[in-house]
Symmetry: C3
Subunit: 154 residues, 3 copies
Amino acid sequence: MDIVVENIYLLVIVTLISALQNAFFALKVEKECNTQNVKSSDFERVSCANRNCMDAYPTFLAVMWCAGVCLSQAPAAFAGIIYVVVRQKYFVGYMGQTSQSTPGYLFGKRIIFFLFLMCIVGIFNYLLMHHYGSNYKEYVETITSAATALLLIP
Amino acid sequence: MDIVVENIYLLVIVTLISALQNAFFALKVEKECNTQNVKSSDFERVSCANRNCMDAYPTFLAVMWCAGVCLSQAPAAFAGIIYVVVRQKYFVGYMGQTSQSTPGYLFGKRIIFFLFLMCIVGIFNYLLMHHYGSNYKEYVETITSAATALLLIP
Amino acid sequence: MDIVVENIYLLVIVTLISALQNAFFALKVEKECNTQNVKSSDFERVSCANRNCMDAYPTFLAVMWCAGVCLSQAPAAFAGIIYVVVRQKYFVGYMGQTSQSTPGYLFGKRIIFFLFLMCIVGIFNYLLMHHYGSNYKEYVETITSAATALLLIP
């Protein structure tokens, strides 16, 4: 399975980091819950932020892994890391004030969209290669690696 | 990794479609939330439908991918597409009236059960082949492809 | 794909069992919901237990699969089975009284942490092998198999 690990180890690392983050979110909710102010505004906010993050988590994982397997793992893992950072910002911002969270949410959408495009390009490339014999994978990978830099623009 | 992509590309496409659908659901909830009637019955309904769909989503993804990898990707992807359509009906029906949603929910169960059976058959086939050297995979794949048509019966 | 199935079939079985369990949880919630006592304490409790289980489910699946693919499937699947048992205990305990559920929750954390460590060891082993040519995978697998026994300690 070592050849498999070679092609996914960056994705695994990002998955682990996001799992750690989930644990951090869960601890925050638990801590806020144990302070007995279950009906308070703080608990509602932390719980809501956690639920929003958790709702989007399976979609993020699925799209990131598809993008990494179908096209190229390095850009997918990089986008995944940015997503984790954005989610952290979103969660912390949500705890402060609701209005701060909107940019983080929109930013998350952009990364998911980028990963989504990567999947489509990867499948399209596979179909082209399969039916016409042409293989643009190397060009596409170069372009993709360059395009990930665009994600850093706030 | 091209041989890997060959065996999963249909599953990736279904995953992407379901991710798009998740985004659609999230937008609906956000839109309903922004109309400021947070305590209204409409928001409750959309939010509840979204949560039901999101709760079942990781299970669906896991079972679909297992079925696709263990047995055969085309029937698994086809069942996945039907699940997405059913979920759409369920969500739209939930927004209208709660009583309409029950058939959709039951229908989803049938598809998950079908994918579940595919996994079991796939693993059973692998174990048979591994221990006794017999390989019924081709027969099983033919039967499975025929059986997917049964999912179309309402 | 048979060589792929060989390396993941235990993980698939655990995934199927956990999917069955999810269905069981969902049925419990639905049943409690249909008894029309939607605002009752029982429904709140079952619904909360279900949501806690569902929130942790994608993280569990991702970490288990990463651990199984990167290092060794048997210990990962074994830890997965224990997690399923713990979750069952947690859910049943939650329905009874909230204070009973705390040990189950902590136990689940330990298993996730163990799977997490397995992933890190697997990636570390891959990187060592890739850059220095040394391969400790067999030693690590033996140690891991022995270490899973520690999970049985309550």
